[in-house]
């Protein structure tokens, strides 16, 4: 008897996990990734002749709660039309009854992969500003993402940003309507502390009544205060993303004004955080442009240094002029 090779086992596993698309107009192309509750595949839409991403529930779901959540995610996404939010194309069921939805296939890199590149701090911060835009839009429509983290942000080849995985989004009012009930909190166990740690290590979204990713989750979210959550929980996550982006580009020492912005966004108390994603983005833009930021009250000397460094050429020119004038005063031709 001969054992199957590791490659053969991996191949069998892949084939086994391929979705049965016979009842759909889609053809399987390949696997793209695996999220908290489902797998994402690259499929070809035979009707339109284009490739789309298909998210399929791949966990046992006797209660139907996860299925309801997937459909709910698709519906929430469908109502959030924004260039920074991946659009949903279709929703349906596979031949085996599993629910799926298809969305735009985004060619690019996840933010955590992109951050490994040699992008400068300024490039990272400009990208961060783009992340704030769809989040602010979703908040304006009464939707909280609740799982913002680098793995849930895609960066396209032209620097475009798409916020992904709205599976644990919460609707807190506004224009978006929720026609499918969210899963009951008791449908899945609360994650124990040990699970929480492993999630932090892997960056995976934790399941249960505590939804989100440790390290990127607001303290009140981590405590399971679901009813208390508002847009400031996402602001905390954005602050954590900002820290994630800024730290490597700053050689471990984040500039003081930027650190103050991160500190404000990640304040323990929600009321101490930025009131909106726009306000956070505004401060980051101000930091980049050498303007004052609300998170950092500066002294006169610091203000003078900032203004001078922002107008370095002008300062040099004026100093050169004054120096020349002084020299001419003391210089006497023979």
């Amino acid at each position: 008897m001969s054992w199957l090779s590791d490659d053969a086992v991996a191949r069998l596993r892949d084939v086994g996990s391929e979705p049965d698309l016979s009842a759909t107009p889609y053809g399987f192309v390949g696997a793209l990734g695996r999220g908290g509750m489902g797998a994402v595949f690259l499929v070809e839409d035979s009707r339109l002749g284009r490739r789309v991403a298909m998210k399929v529930l791949d966990l046992p779901d006797r209660s139907g709660a996860l299925e309801a959540r997937l459909v709910r995610e698709a519906r929430v996404l469908a109502q959030l039309e924004h260039p920074g939010i991946v659009p949903v194309h279709d929703v349906g069921s596979l031949a085996d009854g599993r629910v799926f939805y298809t969305m735009k296939y985004v060619e690019g890199r996840r933010l955590d992969e992109w951050a490994g590149s040699a992008a400068s701090l300024a490039e990272r911060l400009r990208l961060f500003e783009k992340i704030c835009e769809p989040v602010a839009f979703a908040h304006s429509r009464g939707v909280l993402h609740r799982d913002l983290k680098p793995a849930n942000v895609m960066v396209g080849p032209f620097g475009e940003v798409l916020v992904m995985d709205w599976g644990v989004a919460k609707i807190v009012g506004g224009a978006v309507t929720e026609s499918v009930p969210a899963p009951a909190a008791s449908a899945a166990p609360v994650i124990p502390a040990s699970d929480s740690k492993s999630s932090a290590a892997t960056g995976d979204t934790a399941h249960g009544s505590v939804l989100g990713t440790p390290g990127f989750m607001a303290p009140e979210q981590e405590r399971g205060e679901v009813g208390q959550l508002d847009s400031r929980a996402d602001i905390y996550s954005l602050g954590a993303i900002l820290k994630f982006l800024a730290a490597p580009a700053s050689g471990g020492k984040i500039p003081r004004r930027l650190a103050a912005i991160i500190g404000k966004a990640m304040s323990e108390e929600p009321q101490s955080r930025y009131s909106s994603a726009q306000a956070l983005a505004y401060d980051v833009a101000g930091y980049l442009d050498g303007l004052p930021v609300s998170a950092y009250p500066e002294g006169i000397f610091e203000r003078a240094v900032r203004v001078a460094s922002r107008n370095r050429v002008a300062v040099v020119l004026v100093l050169a002029y004054l120096l020349m004038r002084i020299l001419l005063i003391f210089w006497r031709p023979r």
């Binding site: 004026v318 020349m324 001419l328």
Partner: protein
Amino acid sequence: MNKVVFGLILGGLLGIFDGLTSYFTPAVRAQLLGIVIGSTVKGIIAGVLIGWFARKVNSLAAGIAFGLGVGLLLAFAVAAMQPGPDHYYFQIMLPGGIVGLIVGYATQKYQSGPAPARA
């Protein structure tokens, strides 16, 4: 405020300051008023020209080079018009050139949006 007006004001102010510094040159102190007026007019002309250029060409390097050129040229003309054997080319052209340079930089950096479209 558009770039031409901005250049005019900045050029004029720097011209006044530039003229006033001749107070520290005893040989020309008696003609201080005339120097200040002349320097101001020169600064205004340079400012308007440089501001006009900044409206047409959006380039910091080109703006600075143009400002330097205009400043030097006008200062040369002023120095050449000086009566007497001493024309003070160096003392007039050096500050004139730097003033032109500063105005060239400032008019390029100064952000004035286009006039809003009207229906």
